[in-house]
């Protein structure tokens, strides 16, 4: 996939990927971006310009909580974790995504 295509990430997709990345445990901002890249096998590279606004938006929506911690190399960093509603939202968005993906796949097969 070309780099330009990666930037054209749907907003809903970005939210879903962030929630998924955090489902395994808390991460700081860059950590989220790495994890998304890792779990999508390098298909999606989330730029800081999209990542940080999304993290703050999800936090205000109540799906993430954040706390300041020391990172692995002794820097203060803001760590994000899923809340209960966040986990619930992940489940909801996952099934929604599967439904859409299935429908589109079917549509493309015909």
């Amino acid at each position: 996939m070309a780099k330009g295509d990666r930037a054209a990430l749907l907003q809903g997709t970005l939210d879903l990927l962030i929630l998924k990345a955090l489902s395994a445990g808390e991460l700081h901002g860059l950590g989220v971006s790495r994890r998304v890249e890792q779990i999508t096998g390098g298909t999606f590279q989330v730029q800081p310009g999209s990542l940080f606004p999304a993290l703050h938006r999800l936090e205000e929506a109540g799906w993430l909580t954040s706390a300041w911690r020391s990172s692995e190399n002794n820097r203060r960093a803001k760590y994000y974790a899923l809340t209960r509603t966040g986990r619930h939202q992940l489940g909801h968005e996952t099934s929604e995504w599967n439904r859409i993906a299935l429908a589109i796949a079917r549509a493309l097969e015909t």
């Binding site: 940080f52 703050h56 205000e60 203060r76």
Partner: protein
């Protein structure tokens, strides 16, 4: 998102703004530093690591903005920031800010002032609970057009409907009392306006008294001498004291008791006819000479309104009450005329939320609408002007805007900033306009109704005026705010930085804006010219009498408690007293005052000497009751026969004098012929010159004069006017005349004291106000257009300075340069003026009904308007041109380098 979370986020983001921002900053810088550290760990040098991290991360400040924008309340915060920025910018260019705000405020304020009047006179509902339930009653011939209804009704049918209607929960009648002398605590009487109201007046209107109690049906039935005060009058005359309730007063020397006060803000049921004191309709018996026409089923004299019962429709209520009206009319008939009335006349109901038919509304609605349109045009013009100014300003800021776009600010963000700046201007202008509207509307009423002792309409600033003012401000802002903002950000950022002069498209837009200002101001100047010419024509009109050195005042012996024969005796006493004053040449008395629309008496005659005309050809005449010396006093020529004199008493044969136009209806010389038949017949003893009867705008018509001292007391139902011709200026004799009258009869007061010239002037009040407002609009418009032209030409000189320098260096003369710039403006002016003339030809048709003695295409008005416009425009265009001609070619070329 649950609402409490939104609120919590909002509170946090707004109240702890600094902390939230610091945390975002720290988070992003931390992430950037971590990225940099990773690159260093991968073996890059410090500088390379920093550069690589920065490239991978992206512009940190832009990201910070985007994070901030993602948070709740971001738009509020942006608005606050934009507003602060806008205020700072406006403070930095105070001349621009002051001009933009002032021109908008004047445009909006003047429009809102007229709207305020229009609202009070035409639109607003009565200040009573549920005004929509009210209905107005009228009568008319079956099948006649709706506009011909008569809003005066007979009493017996009203009484029957009030007693029997089920679909109207209340019905009431009112009848204006006119001037009444009110004396309290045995003090000096002061005159006030009275209203007779039937018993259900207050209940039907659903009013609650501010103090005491209201009149009841019982008060009315018994004709009890009780009175209710209007709130404003209670404040003015009794200082709002509660001990006024129960106080004894006299109305025209008849004792009454004050029982209550109406609620504040209530002015009655007819817009433009406020009153001070209300008394029961039946109590009028104690105040008038004659028995009121309680039983006359074809005499129309009361105004009737009602309120629909819950659930009743207007149509159903009309059918029900029409049936009662027809039946009651037949039952109450006592004469052939009554029966004919009952057969031919039907009763009608119409919605009454805005009160009963109002003379003020009839007279002024169209006129106010016209003013509203005139000033709306000025407002549009002011908006266009500010649009041009803002556009020029935005051009000057292109570098700043281009830089901001290049640095990553979104186009929406920049537009929002520019729009906020315009909004700040609009709101500031709106706030000032509100004040102008309140003060301006009062001033306008004072000019339109010069002799009124108080405001004929209520002008208390309210939410509607507020809404109108700010709606106008927002509308104006939409015109001037968005255009420059959108245009400034069009085209990419890089493109813009290179263009300083503005693209040709932008200049075309500027030219169009300025040309439309020129066009609009020409239309307004034409309107102003037409109204000025109308005023001039009115003054030049020969009314048939001589206007100078005539003093007039009215007297009313009834106010002093005089009745019957005492009334003409009082007249004689006043006339004799005035005659004794030095410098007074002639004194007379008449029912109808020249150029006053208070009274207009008409009748018709079939019998003129030997001729008897069929009914349909009868001669309709206006008539007047006058004392001897009337024609000499007013300078009306007596063409044949004689004036009235002391011989023409009640006992002497009845005589009349006719106007020239009336004389032509007789065969041969009218002198000695009889006018009319039966006991009312009169012998014509004189012919006098034609006059314009009640207004300078009247066409000369047939007039019949009768001697006032031949009238029976019951025929005198008016307050007559004393006219005095003096040797010098009329105003000079006033004090001595007043003294002489007071000495002769201390109970008589002089009212409506005016010279004939002042009265004439006041009768032109509407025309004068139109001329004034159109003049204001035109002057304002042409000034704005001039400023627009000046700005455009100056800008053009600035833009073309290098080119001009080059031309001069190559040998162009200063006058050639001057022509170059002037030609550019001339095209704009010419296009605008041509468009304006076309628009004016179309627009002046709307003005036709307000003009007098001239055509809407009056060449003097049109020529004058064009001349004024061209003079101002030429001045505005020439100043920059002269400046261009003084450009030093060397400086100009250096500027280009």
């Amino acid at each position: 998102m649950p609402i409490f979370r939104t609120l919590r986020n909002l509170a946090r983001n707004l109240l702890l703004r600094g902390r939230v921002r610091r945390e975002i900053d720290e988070e992003l810088r931390g992430a950037l530093a971590a990225l940099e550290a990773e690159h260093r760990a991968a073996g890059l040098s410090d500088a390379d690591a920093r550069r690589a991290a920065a490239v991978a991360f992206g512009p940190i400040d832009a990201i910070k903005d985007r994070v901030g924008d993602a948070r709740t309340g971001a738009s509020l915060e942006t608005l606050a920031r934009d507003t602060r920025f806008a205020l700072r910018l406006l403070r930095r260019s105070p001349v621009f800010a002051a001009f933009a705000i002032a021109s908008l405020a004047l445009g909006i304020g003047a429009t809102a002032a007229i709207f305020f009047l229009f609202d009070a006179v035409v639109l607003r509902k009565l200040p009573v609970p549920d005004p929509d339930g009210l209905v107005v009653a009228s009568i008319g011939r079956a099948g006649a057009a709706a506009g011909t209804n008569n809003y005066s009704l007979p009493y017996p049918q009203f009484e029957a409907i009030a007693a029997r209607s089920r679909l109207l929960e209340g019905v009431f009648a009112v009848n204006p009392m006119g001037r009444v002398n009110v004396a309290a605590d045995g003090g000096q009487p002061e005159s006030a306006d009275g209203l007779f109201v039937s018993g259900d007046y207050y209940r039907t209107l659903r009013l609650a008294p501010a103090a005491g109690r209201f009149l009841t049906p019982d008060d009315d039935r018994a004709g009890r001498p009780v009175a209710v005060l209007n709130h404003a009058y209670w404040q003015r005359r009794f200082g709002g004291r509660t001990d006024a309730i129960g106080a004894a007063v006299t109305l025209d020397q008849v004792p009454f008791t004050i029982v209550g006060v109406e609620p504040e803000g209530f002015f009655g049921t007819e817009v433009g006819r406020p009153y001070d004191v209300a008394i029961p309709l039946r109590a009028s018996e104690s105040l008038s000479e004659e028995q009121p026409m309680w039983n006359r089923s074809s005499a129309t004299w009361i105004s009737v309104m009602g309120r629909l019962a819950p659930g009743a429709s207007l149509t159903a209520a009309e059918q029900e009450t029409q049936a009662i009206f027809a039946q009651a009319g037949l039952v109450a008939s006592r004469s052939a005329a009554d029966q004919q009335f009952a057969r031919e006349i039907t009763w009608r109901l119409e919605p009454g939320a805005r009160g009963n038919r109002s003379g003020l509304r009839q007279n002024y609605a169209r006129w106010l609408l016209l003013l509203l349109m005139l000033l709306g045009a000025v407002l549009l013009l002011a908006s266009l002007n500010v649009a041009t100014l803002l556009a020029a300003r935005t051009d000057a800021r292109r570098r700043e805007i281009a830089t901001r776009l290049a640095l990553g600010a979104g186009r929406g963000r920049v537009v929002r900033q520019l729009v906020t700046e315009a909004l700040v201007l609009a709101l500031a202008a709106g706030a000032i306009a509100f004040v102008i509207a309140v003060a301006g509307s009062r001033a306008l009423v004072a000019i339109a109704v010069p002799s009124a002792e108080r405001m004929p309409v209520q002008l208390v600033p309210d939410a509607r005026l507020f809404a109108f003012t700010f709606a106008a401000a927002i509308a104006a802002y939409l015109v001037f705010g968005l255009v420059p903002a959108l245009r400034a950000t069009r085209g990419g950022s890089l493109l813009v930085t290179r263009q300083v002069g503005g693209s040709p498209g932008h200049r075309r837009l500027d030219r169009t804006l300025v040309a439309s200002q020129v066009a609009l101001s020409l239309v307004l100047l034409v309107a102003a010219g037409l109204f000025l010419r109308t005023l001039e024509k009115l003054w030049a009109q020969n009314p048939g009498y001589q206007r100078t050195n005539v003093l007039m005042f009215s007297i009313e012996p009834h106010l002093a408690g005089r009745r019957g024969d005492e009334v003409p005796q009082t007249y004689r006493r006043v006339l004799d007293a005035a005659r004794g004053v030095p410098a007074v040449e002639r004194v007379t008395l008449s029912a109808v005052r020249p150029v006053s629309e208070n009274y207009y008496f008409v009748t018709s005659f079939r019998e003129l000497g030997a001729i008897t005309l069929p009914v349909e050809q009868r001669v309709r005449v206006a008539f007047n009751h006058v004392a001897p010396g009337y024609f000499a006093t007013l300078g009306v020529p007596v063409i044949a026969g004689r004036d009235f004199d002391d011989r023409d008493s009640r006992e002497a044969p009845k005589v009349a004098i006719v106007s020239e136009r009336m004389a032509r209806h007789f065969s041969g010389n009218p002198i000695g012929q009889r006018l009319g038949a039966g006991p009312g017949a009169r012998e014509v003893v004189g012919v006098v010159g034609d006059v314009r009867y009640a207004s300078v705008k009247d066409q000369p018509r047939e007039v019949v004069y009768m001697p006032i001292f031949q009238m029976a007391p019951r025929e005198i139902f008016y307050s007559p006017t004393v006219e005095i011709r003096s040797a010098g200026p009329a105003a000079a004799v006033l004090a001595s005349v007043r003294d002489a009258v007071t000495r002769a009869d201390p109970a008589i007061t002089l009212f409506d004291v005016k010279t004939l010239e002042t009265q004439t002037d006041e009768s032109f009040a509407r025309e004068r106000l139109l001329a004034l407002i159109a003049g204001y609009a035109g002057a304002f418009a042409v000034l704005l257009a001039g400023i627009g032209l000046y700005g455009l030409a100056s800008y053009s000189v600035l833009r073309r300075t290098p080119e001009i320098g080059l031309r001069m260096a190559l040998g162009a003369t200063p006058s050639a340069v001057r022509n170059l710039i002037v030609r550019e403006s001339a095209v704009t002016i010419g296009a605008g003026a041509a468009a304006g003339l076309c628009a004016a030809f179309l627009a002046v048709r709307l003005l036709r009904s307000q003009l007098f003695g001239i055509e809407p295409t009056d060449p003097v008005a049109l020529g004058g308007a064009v001349a004024v416009l061209l003079a101002i425009a030429a001045a505005a265009a020439c100043i920059p041109a002269v400046r261009a001609a003084r450009i030093d070619p060397l400086d100009a070329l250096r500027l280009d380098a």
